[in-house]
Amino acid sequence: MTTTEIIVTLAGFALIAWIVWYFWLWKGKPVAAQSGAGGVLEVDVTVKGGYQPAIVEARTGQRLRLNFTRREASTCGEEVVLPAFGRRAHLPQNTSVPIEIVPDKPGEYEFTCGMNMYRGKIVVQ
């Protein structure tokens, strides 16, 4: 192997290690939903290359409102689906679209885009 080949190969493996760490091992910080008007727990979720925040904390039996706002032209995130609650919403660009749910059991409930590429979860305690 030439020096160039060794350098390129090491750079390649370093890039792979970075991909594994950055996309698979990195864990986002959960955000607790805040009490809003009428005692509804509320959290604003920005849709831009993913969900921000991607982990939302909620409480059993308490109404939770997720205000989704798509801040990108890409159509990847134009739909949001909450399969456990049978809910789907179309997200027009730059418009806040709230989805209200009442999680009746503790656990983790996913929300994803229509094609399952963007992923977030609601952690219900």
């Binding site: 991909i19 890409s74 789907r88 399952n116």
Partner: protein, 826 residues
């Protein structure tokens, strides 16, 4: 139109009444399926705090307080005067219709109906919630449709630009393959490179800008998606080619290849694929839209003694509604006067019109065929059968069948895995490939990036589920969720309740066999009088049979119903007992005299009812339930599908077996009291069948078909509970599948559509898995050592664009599903 009203992209803020552009609204609230748009966060917060109150205040405060109310109030009756009204009615498609007061000239009364309509619309602004919710549903549809159409047009514009610009680049690429042209252009190689770089740049930045922005946004969020792959692939090709143009000397001899056309054409093809996918997806969700379009737009109600036409959203519970022949019934209700045949196919899937008379229920959106009638509205807005069907179908479409869970876990790892595969491909070619290694390494890496298609995987399950569940609804079969659909497709056993499911559930008197000195008439008279106060269907059959034979059925002097046995009563001062064998044993009546006759009746499928007077056998009465027209066809169809059919009944074994023989059922569970049904289903579930054991899992998957009320525990116990509804009871809680049409054929349709949908999902998943698992190694060049051929990145890009379109198109094939067993066969 008030709260939530919308005209094109305009909506009315329910708090301040301002017209709001839905695309730039400061806030939107969806509440119970209704969308509200707000001009400011303040309005949104106010609404949020007291939505109900706001709705009421609006309606009570009259039309001047908000522009939203103005919209409802026509000028001639409202307090705002003419001219200012911005009334907008939405049609079924969410498009704006001409306001009532503008028909025939603004502010001019044209005829009493219009006048009344205006009046009705005004005085009933408090009909509030139901109306706006229904309208809200349409707005949601319209918004999604408009957005889809807009996205399609934008993609096609970008595609057209990319395609036109790519054309000279493609010609230059072909020139490379023609020796004479290649030599002629050789001196201008670098100039051509500069021109290609400049031409392809706007394709990347404008047409393909969304991929780069999407990829960047994803990267910042530790997320990857299809944009990441497209951006990396085309970006790498363009950057590499540009470096070749600027500094060809940094590359080893022969490695300075240019791939501008690859970047531009791949972007053009993927844009085209996305546009086609949007079109195909809008067809997939057509079922829901079709259901909504079935609604009538207006209703003719009688208010203050006048017939007035009003939008159906204005109809309130208790309204008297008039329907003429050929018209659609606007909401659910009960007929007050008149009779007609009503085509309920829109809701029940049953093609034969149903005769209706006073006291019968009618379903909104069904078509009145022959006579005119009036009915009292009982369910409006989101409570109508149609609205509940739409809601149920939407929920099912958005659920996930277990088969999709594997895909979920795969797709979260997919894109980074492809990126890693691309790097490994680059390294393999760079270290072990033939010369020029850098060219091969770059081309194969780009090809791997652009061939992988995570969207095909992600779309495979939900798109088929959407079409399948919608298709089932068209045939009057409501499937609760993806899990029920998947289980229904794998059922091995179906349990049919006898009474009301296989039979009509309306038994009739067939035989009267007297003993000793009793005559037919005296036996029947004793039995009918004794049974008169009983509510049991068999007792009713005896009473009705006696009346039909001209007997007068008096009241019994004493009456006592013994559940599970029969009745005891005092008739003409004598003690009469009418019931089953257990009652006779309890009464100490010798059964010997009964035996032969009872067996004969049972063998004929009739239920023998024993009659004893003063403790002596008086006679036997035979009562039989008629088998439904389609029972035999359905049982045969289920058996052809490889499903074992079991009949369950509380009736005696002999009668049950006789009925079972008539319909072709081999296995009968007889003498099962109502409270035992669930346990019998459980016993069937754990019952092993040789060759069908699956590693500790239940050997049988049992579906139970019942009426949803009496059979609720058994339906809940079954792996799939099928409830036979009556049209208006659309969402039966205990049921996984509701057969709205009330016909047993729905069971076959539900299983057929479930199997077809699951087959479709499997085809999609198989196609997407195979495509990616074969496509990526081929793109990486595994065939190069054998055949010295490499996949062109352009073909890889085309394949990627085609794969998503193929998945959606395959799912759309389900739209042509037709049930095998239809009403026409009978």
């Amino acid at each position: 139109m008030r709260t939530g009203a919308m005209h094109g992209t305009q909506a009315i803020d329910p708090i301040c009444g301002m017209t709001v552009d839905t695309r730039s609204a400061a806030g939107v609230i969806e509440r119970d399926g209704q969308m509200y748009y707000f001009c400011s966060t303040g309005c949104k917060a106010k609404f949020d705090a007291e939505p109900q109150g706001v709705a009421e205040k609006q309606s009570q405060s009259g039309c001047c307080s908000t522009k939203a109310a103005e919209a409802v109030a026509p000028p001639q009756t409202g307090c705002c005067g003419g001219g200012a009204g911005t009334a907008v009615q939405l049609n079924a498609h969410g498009a704006a219709e001409q306001p009532l007061h503008q028909i025939g000239g603004a502010g001019r009364r044209t005829n009493p109906v219009q006048q009344g309509a205006a009046h009705g619309a005004h005085i009933h602004t408090t009909a509030g919630a139901d109306r706006s919710e229904q309208v809200g549903g349409r707005i949601k549809e319209a918004t999604a449709e408009e957005a889809q159409e807009k996205a399609y047009r934008a993609l096609m514009r970008k595609f057209s630009f990319a395609a036109v610009v790519s054309l000279p680049l493609v010609l230059l690429m072909f020139a490379e393959f023609i020796p004479a042209w290649r030599e002629a252009l050789m001196p201008y190689h670098r100039l051509i490179g500069v021109i290609s770089a400049v031409i392809s740049l706007p394709v990347l930045l404008w047409s393909g800008g969304q991929f780069f922005v999407g990829a960047w946004n994803g990267l910042r969020n530790h997320n990857t998606n299809m944009d990441t792959l497209v951006a990396l692939g085309t970006g790498a090709a363009w950057v590499y080619s540009t470096i070749v143009v600027i500094a060809p000397e940094v590359f080893p001899a022969g490695t300075a290849g240019m791939y501008f056309e690859v970047a531009a054409i791949v972007i053009a093809l993927i844009l085209l694929g996305q546009a086609l996918e949007i079109r195909a997806k809008s067809r997939s969700s057509a079922a829901i839209r079709k259901l909504l379009e079935l609604q009538a737009k207006t209703a003719r109600v009688i208010r203050n003694g006048l017939e007035v036409d009003i939008p159906i959203a204005e109809v309130i519970v208790g309204d008297t509604v008039l329907v003429r022949p050929g018209e659609k019934i606007p909401v659910d209700g009960v007929i007050i006067e008149g009779e007609s045949a009503v085509d309920e196919a829109v809701v029940t899937g049953e093609s034969v019109p149903v005769d209706k008379a006073a006291g019968d229920t009618v379903i909104g959106a069904s078509i009145n065929k022959t006579g005119a009638f009036t009915f009292r509205a009982t369910r409006v807005g989101k409570d109508t059968a149609l609205a509940r069907i739409v809601e149920m179908v939407e929920q099912a479409q958005n659920s996930k069948p277990p088969i999709g869970r594997l895909v979920d876990s795969i797709s979260s790892y997919f894109v980074p895995a492809v990126m890693i595969a691309a790097i490994l491909t680059f390294l393999a070619w760079f270290n072990f490939g033939p010369q020029p290694v850098l060219n091969y390494a770059v081309v194969t890496m780009v090809t791997v990036l652009v061939i992988a298609c995570p969207c095909a995987l992600g779309l495979a399950t939900p798109i088929s589920l959407m079409v399948g569940v919608g298709k089932a609804a068209e045939h009057g079969v409501l499937i609760r969720n993806g899990e029920a659909l998947e289980t229904a497709s794998r059922l091995t056993t179906i349990v049919l309740d006898k009474t009301g499911t296989i039979t009509k559930g309306k038994p009739e008197l067939t035989d009267v066999l007297p003993f000793g000195d009793f005559t037919e008439e005296t036996v029947l008279r004793f039995a009918a009088i004794a049974d008169k106060r009983s509510e049991h269907p068999l007792a009713e059959a005896i009473v009705n049979g006696a009346r039909k034979r001209g007997l007068e059925v008096d009241e019994p002097e004493q009456f006592n119903a013994i559940p599970g046995h029969g009745v005891e009563a005092r008739v003409d001062g004598r003690r009469a007992a009418v019931g089953n064998r257990k009652l006779m044993q309890r009464e100490g009546v010798a059964l010997d005299a009964f035996e032969q006759a009872a067996m004969r009746l049972a063998d004929e499928g009739k239920t023998p009812m024993f009659v004893a007077v003063d403790g002596r056998p008086a006679g036997i009465i035979g009562v039989a339930d008629t088998i439904k027209e389609d029972s035999i066809t359905v049982v045969r169809a289920l058996q052809r599908m490889g499903i074992e059919v079991v009949m369950m009944t509380g009736d005696n074994e002999r009668t049950a077996k006789a009925i079972a023989r008539q319909v072709g059922i081999d296995r009968v569970l007889a003498d099962v009291p109502p409270e035992e049904k669930a346990r019998q289903v459980e016993k069937l579930q754990v019952e092993g069948r040789p060759g069908n054991e699956r590693g500790g899992r239940r050997a049988r998957l049992v579906g139970m078909v019942g009426d949803g009320i009496n059979d609720a525990p058994a339906l809940a116990q079954a792996d799939v509970g099928f409830a036979i509804g009556t049209g208006t009871d659309v969402a039966i809680e205990a049921a996984d599948v509701t057969l709205v049409g009330g016909s047993l054929r729905g069971v076959v349709t539900a299983i057929e559509v479930s199997r077809a949908t699951l087959r479709n999902i499997k085809q999609n998943l198989f196609g997407a898995f195979i495509y990616n698992t074969l496509g990526i190694p081929v793109a990486a060049g595994v065939f190069f050592p054998l055949f010295s051929v490499l996949l062109s990145p352009i073909i890889a890009g085309a394949a990627m664009a085609a794969s998503s379109v193929t998945v959606v198109t395959n799912a759309n094939r389900l739209r042509s599903f037709e049930p095998q067993v239809t009403g026409k066969e009978n």
